[in-house]
Amino acid sequence: MRPALLATTAALGLAASLPTTAGAETIRYMTAGGIYLDHITEAFLEPIGEKLGVTWSIETSDNDTLIRLEHAAGAPTFDIVEFGASQCARGAADGLYEELDFDIIDVSDFTPGSYSDHFVGSTIFSTVLGYNTENIANPPSNWAEFWDVENFPGTRSLRRTARHMLEGALMADGVPPEEVYPMDLDRAIDSLGRIRPHVTAWWGSGAEAQQLVRDGGIDLIWTFNARLDSAAADGAPITYTFNQGIMEFGCWAIVKGTRNKDLAMRILAEFAKPEYQAEMARLSGYGAANMAIFETGIIDAETAATLPTAPDNVNRQLLLDAAWWAENAPEAIERFDQFMTE
């Protein structure tokens, strides 16, 4: 009971005010906030904290600026971080993270591409094509049809970032999914230029996207699958297809220079296990990097079919190439930003 209580309190961000318990190590963990953190806490942090006698000190952020700052200052305070795949890959390339020990961490059931020497996949989300079922009788079913404003009328919204949008723009221009990488930036930007006059709003955060489809008057949108689930659960007439969705995985990494490296490695070994990842998928509606979650019995068939990583869905989607982004992110993002301000 007591460790669970501690973990919960830590998850609420009160860890600093607790007296240090003998034998309990405090792990500083950075992850996304909001409901995602609630789910991560319930699925991973509480049970694993109890099992390994670990308390958590949590900071939320969607970018790695603080980790980079501490790295530059030579004073890391975090032990484990969770970001998006391209951030992990870039961070690894810049030497922010420890090399992982795959004798301890079992990735044998992981989706190919969802781990590397320096990070392992957590959840898998997908940018999918959602549409308003009341306003749209004949919905588009892929990027090219989303670009076809004459045959598929409706108000449109896209994401305000290079990631996923460049991939989508290439597919809209006729590039087959398996040939998207390495990306031709000129072609992607040209393609985006053709849809731009028809995009009502470029959303920034998942919350914005959810608001757009719920009461913002947007009929057609490419956004995160869990956000559309959420909008639908709120009663919005929204549904989506996984067709040509772009999957990206979250990833855990161990911060270079942490004093708790061995413990962090053991924690990542737990994080990677299918039973915890299955519980996370059940709670959040996100897929998991570990494909063995479907054999745990934790997820019922109905839920399984709605996950981006369900066998029927996964084949229709593209997995974001973290390695490509690690190498090309600065140029790709700069080109996209310029496009948005021209």
Partner: protein, 310 residues
Amino acid sequence: MSTAGSLIPPRTQQHQAAEPAAPNAVALARQGRRDRLLVLSLLLPAGALLLALLIIPVGWLFYLSLIEGGEYSLVHYERIWTMRSYQNILWTTVKISVIVTVICAVVGYPTAYLLAQLPGPLAAVGLAMVMIPFWISILVRTYAWLILLGARGPIVPFLQQVGLTDNPFLLLYNETGTIIGMVHVMLPFFILPLYANLRSFDWNLMHAAASMGAPPTSAFFRVFLPMSLAGIWAGVVLVFVQSIGFYVTPALLGGGRVTMVSMKIASNIQEYFDWGAASALGVVLLLIASSILILAARLIGGGQLWGTTR
């Protein structure tokens, strides 16, 4: 007696200290030194705070903006100077800030004018109405505007019904929405300094103008308005300088079509971890803000702008 320069207001005895051979000259000089020391030591905490929290960070900002790959370089400024996307961002920022400032002045002046003439209790109610939105989080207010200005909000469907527009996104996801949201946030910053200024206006001057035969409009434009210029400028400076640094409101209400400088600074840090590029933009913002302050101080005199004299 005191020779502490401008730090201590000159006293009438000052010239006496300069007289030679005054019997108490030594004691007076010692007293003067003690005064100076006291003033300096009293200023020390404030000075240290300024140094630690303002001068060093701003100096660091300038330094970072001149560094690329560990060497001195003007590349960050070159980028701002030569790349069209940066010029567009700067132009958008200045344009929106000017428009917001002008609207705040046009809407805020009559409001402050009215408030300044209301009797105490009514003025308090009026001021409360100005202040209450001011206390609500900008994020919350911006989300409220998302609903109000949106395609399903009360305004646009009405405009569509009466045939004034056929565009459901007339007021949102563009500069119009951004400006509306920013004016709402900035209005108190215009009204409050102006109100303070107008409140101290001596209304007998208007009676005097009337008694000299000036009709009300003429009395307003030739007596009242010129005397309120300092308040107007204080409001203009506050609104403009804050507007050029806006982040949340354009990010949400602009729908990705409006990029202001602070948004680019954020992406420089979060997406590229490029402190040089971000710092250079920060310096440019600082220069724009400073030039507005200097301009305003020139136009109406620094003392009136900073509120040290009336």
